[in-house]
């Protein structure tokens, strides 16, 4: 290990201003801080620091998303083999490996395009690489249908990283959730690749795994079927374990639940936001059911579609959510309620989680403004009272 450190120290000057490889300094820095905790010591202020840093936090979120990713891979295989009618003679390995081959290119493309832009941008701005995209990069493949072509995924990632994040100033400054922006870009630019009944089940075999499905094969998501008034052919246990068509990572409540436990336990996600999203969703679902506007029960609304995934991984993004405790309650509730309103009251969109979260992202600064303003008013009142 010492040799590695010595080697890095030896080549470091080449990347510094004036060095031959200065154009790649941000890549070198990124690699060095990935390998070693920076040795920088404090200059002013506290002399000791908590060991938590942005890298560790982002790594934890990625770890929390892994169960959903792994299950998503398995489910991609499961759906393909089930559609082809060969579920019985396929092993666990067949299903998983087919899904792995179908999903991996999306993860690779997402990271390659996003990190590429991040590195170039950091170099251009002479800043350190920010770790935000580590999370975004894994969330984007999880929220798209498995049949989404790679080239439009590239476009979406590039769009969201540049337009929704970097021009605002990078991680910590963006207004809208970057991963959801990528999805929204796809949703509105390429609706035929994002919705409907042909995108949710992988339809071609890969390297001998899986089956080519017939051209006319269709499979809608349960919410899609409910939207057109059809009955849902899945049991509640399938909905909870996740053996249903849907975006890659959103189907399994159990896998998402493991992620939620990791995020809440490490304190990275706000339990207020997450709880409040569920609260808002459940309350609205009960209300709609009571009014006879929806055919399914509240718990089905919660376990179907992207509700859980959005509540756990998207709504809790600290940058784009409300930052005050009171604000987080309101913000979360708004998401939960809005997602149900879009699902039930809007005939065009069977799912509403993405739009609800983007909508609430927009309102988060306003919510915080009023919460902070209450504190300010209290202080002003004290001042005028004392001056009387």
């Amino acid at each position: 290990m010492k040799a590695l450190r010595q080697y890095l120290d030896k080549i470091k000057p080449k990347f510094e201003p004036g060095g031959k490889l200065h154009a790649f300094q941000s890549i070198f820095d990124g690699l060095e801080t990935f390998l070693y905790v920076p040795n920088t010591t404090s200059k002013v202020g506290t002399h000791i620091h908590d060991s938590i840093d942005s890298k560790r936090i982002m790594s934890m979120v990625v770890i929390a998303a892994l169960p959903a990713l792994l299950f998503g891979m398995y489910n991609v295989g499961y759906q393909n083999y089930a559609a082809a009618g060969h579920l019985a003679d396929a092993s666990f390995f067949d299903l998983f490996f087919f899904g792995f081959l179908a999903v991996l290119p999306k993860v690779v493309v997402s990271y390659a395009v996003g990190l590429g832009i991040e590195f170039a941008w950091a170099q251009w701005k002479h800043e350190e690489i920010q770790e935000g995209f580590l999370v975004t990069g894994i969330l984007i493949p999880l929220i798209i249908p498995v049949n989404c072509p790679l080239w439009i995924l590239m476009l979406a990632v590039a769009f969201s990283v540049v337009i929704c994040k970097e021009i605002f100033g990078g991680t910590g400054m963006n207004i809208f959730n970057v991963a959801l922006c990528a999805r929204a870009f796809l949703f509105f630019s390429y609706p035929s690749k994002m919705t409907g009944d042909t995108v949710w089940v992988a339809s071609n075999s890969i390297l001998g795994f899986g089956y080519d499905l017939p051209d006319g094969f269709t499979a809608a998501t349960p919410l899609g079927e409910i939207g057109v008034g059809a009955n849902v052919p899945y049991s509640l246990s399938d909905m909870i374990t996740g053996f249903i068509p849907g975006s890659i990572g959103e189907t399994s409540v159990i896998a998402i639940g493991i992620g939620a436990i990791i995020l809440l336990w490490t304190g990275i996600a706000s339990w207020r936001t997450m709880g409040s999203v569920f609260g808002g969703g459940i309350l609205m679902a009960l209300l709609f059911k009571h009014l006879g506007m929806t055919s399914i029960d509240w718990y089905e609304h919660i376990v179907l579609g992207g509700f859980c995934f959005g509540a756990v991984f998207m709504a809790t993004d600290p940058v784009t959510s409300a930052r005050t405790h009171t604000g987080q309650w309101i913000y979360g509730f708004l998401i939960g309620a809005m997602a149900l309103i879009i699902r039930v009251m809007n005939p065009g969109y069977p799912e509403g989680m993405m739009l609800a979260i983007l909508f609430a992202n927009m309102f988060a600064p306003l919510i915080d403004y009023y919460v902070v303003q209450a504190n300010i008013s209290k202080r002003m009142k004290r001042l005028t009272k004392n001056n009387k």
């Binding site: 920076p38 000791i48 560790r56 350190e128 920010q130």
Partner: protein, 449 residues
């Protein structure tokens, strides 16, 4: 029964090298160095020249803006040299001490019969008034301010902090006299911790005693002010370190200035952590002779690890030197894969580490920042360790953008940089919050001048 205020927010950090309650006395040394910049916010103007003779208590320098505020010499002797830095800034006044100390006699006084002005003038005359600090701005105050209250916090709860109850032993009478003197000038509040049982604290007279029950920073005087009498725009409260209350008491009881203070020597790089008695101005090189376990890779701190200043052996005892802390610097640590390793010997508030399992474990932390500086990403980090009715994160943002109106509205007059020390510790974005707050306070002080 004293009023009890319970605080929930905050964080106690246990570090290796807590000072044992034994004391050694640093005897007289040949040279002392008084450093004016240890008094925050004072623009020093020398009133002595090289070669001048001074007695203990004679003024060495005054505040340029308030010349009546004099700063007493801790020893008698000759002014050997005046050290200056850039733009002739006074860095230190080097004094050659007499073998037999001569004291300027200010005359004993019975504080109970003194008026507010009597106390104030006595402190001004003896060069001790500058030890009184104030909120807003957290600077050394001036005699023209009219405090609505005076706050003394006898609770020191920062990591490796000097235990005031230990310092108080033998100084009880002077402490009480000092409190009585302060109470002549304004209502005086004494804040103590729930574990402090010393009679001189619990039953202190002429002051309102409040017990603060909660983790660090319950001992911060700013936090205590915020809970009892928050500072509004235009108001001033005075804050006095309990050590200086003893200084004041000694003045009235003996008629002499005696700037002997008790200092905790702590930290994992201290050979035997303990207490010492030393005069203001005593060079660290004398105090720390043979006291350190290492000379290289050493972070020496004038004060505690959260609020102290980076120091060296040439430094000397000053206003904030209630502790001298020595920890490893860590500049050659080269720790691998910090973003994923379990790092069981690290302390963190995050449960992605295991320190939550070992609440009582004392840690050996070095001076590394342990991460790169980022924009503020996580929410609620600052507020979790700031037990004040203030939105810390929003205040910090207002200061960063220099929005004076917002700073006022969000309560900048109520805070001092030390109140953000824990927030700076826990901050995953690694921002220098204390520097930012000081910058904001200076901005407003200039604006309101």
């Amino acid at each position: 029964m004293a009023n009890v205020i319970k605080l929930r927010k905050g964080l106690n950090i246990h570090l290796k090298g807590t000072a044992a309650q034994t004391k050694r006395v640093v005897g007289a040394c040949a040279e002392y160095v008084v450093r004016p910049d240890t008094f925050e916010g004072v623009v020093p103007k020398l009133v002595v020249h090289e070669g001048d003779r001074v007695d203990v208590g004679d003024a060495l320098f005054v505040d340029k803006n308030f010349p009546e505020v004099r700063f007493a010499s801790p020893v008698s002797g000759t002014v050997k040299a005046v050290e200056r830095g850039e733009r002739r800034k006074i860095l230190g006044i080097r004094l050659q001490a007499d073998e037999v100390q001569k004291y300027h006699d200010f005359g004993r006084r019975d504080v109970s019969s003194l008026s507010a002005d009597g106390v104030k003038n006595a402190l001004l005359e003896a060069g001790l008034f500058g030890y009184i600090y104030q909120l807003p701005y957290a600077v050394s105050t001036n005699p023209q301010t009219m405090p609505k209250a005076i706050f003394v916090s006898a609770l020191r709860d920062m990591p490796l902090a000097n235990d005031f109850e230990y310092e108080l032993q033998g100084n009880e009478r002077d402490f009480q006299t000092g409190l009585t003197a302060l109470s002549k000038m304004a209502t005086t509040y004494l804040g103590i911790g729930k574990n402090q049982k010393a009679d001189a604290l619990v039953n202190a007279k002429d002051v309102e005693v409040t017990v603060y029950d909660g983790p660090c920073p319950a001992g911060n005087v700013g936090v205590q002010v915020n809970h009892i009498s928050p500072v509004n725009k235009g108001e001033v409260v005075w804050t006095v370190d309990p050590t200086f209350v003893i200084f004041f008491g000694r003045l009235f009881n003996t008629g002499k200035v005696n700037l002997l203070r008790t200092i905790a020597l702590g930290g994992s790089a201290m050979a035997s952590p303990m207490y010492v008695d030393a005069l203001i101005g005593t060079p660290f090189s004398v105090i720390l002779k043979d006291a350190l376990t290492r000379q290289e890779d050493l972070r020496l701190i004038n004060g505690n690890p959260l609020t102290g200043t980076k120091s060296c052996l040439e430094d000397s005892v000053g206003v904030k030197t209630s502790e001298i802390t020595a920890i490893p610097e860590g500049a050659d640590a080269n720790e691998m894969f910090g973003w994923i390793m379990p790092r069981t010997n690290h302390f963190s508030t995050s449960r992605s580490y295991f320190s939550w399992l070992m609440a009582k474990k004392a840690y050996d932390l070095d001076a590394r920042v342990k991460g790169g500086e980022r924009h503020i990403i996580m929410s609620g980090e600052y507020d979790s360790v700031l037990p004040m009715d203030i939105y810390g994160e929003f205040l910090i943002k207002a200061i960063i953008v220099g929005d004076i109106d917002k700073m006022e509205q969000l309560g900048i007059y109520e805070v001092s940089p030390e109140d953000f020390a824990l927030a700076e510790f826990v901050d995953s974005s690694k921002l220098e919050l204390q520097r930012i707050v000081r910058q904001g306070l200076n901005m407003l002080r200039k604006e309101n001048a």
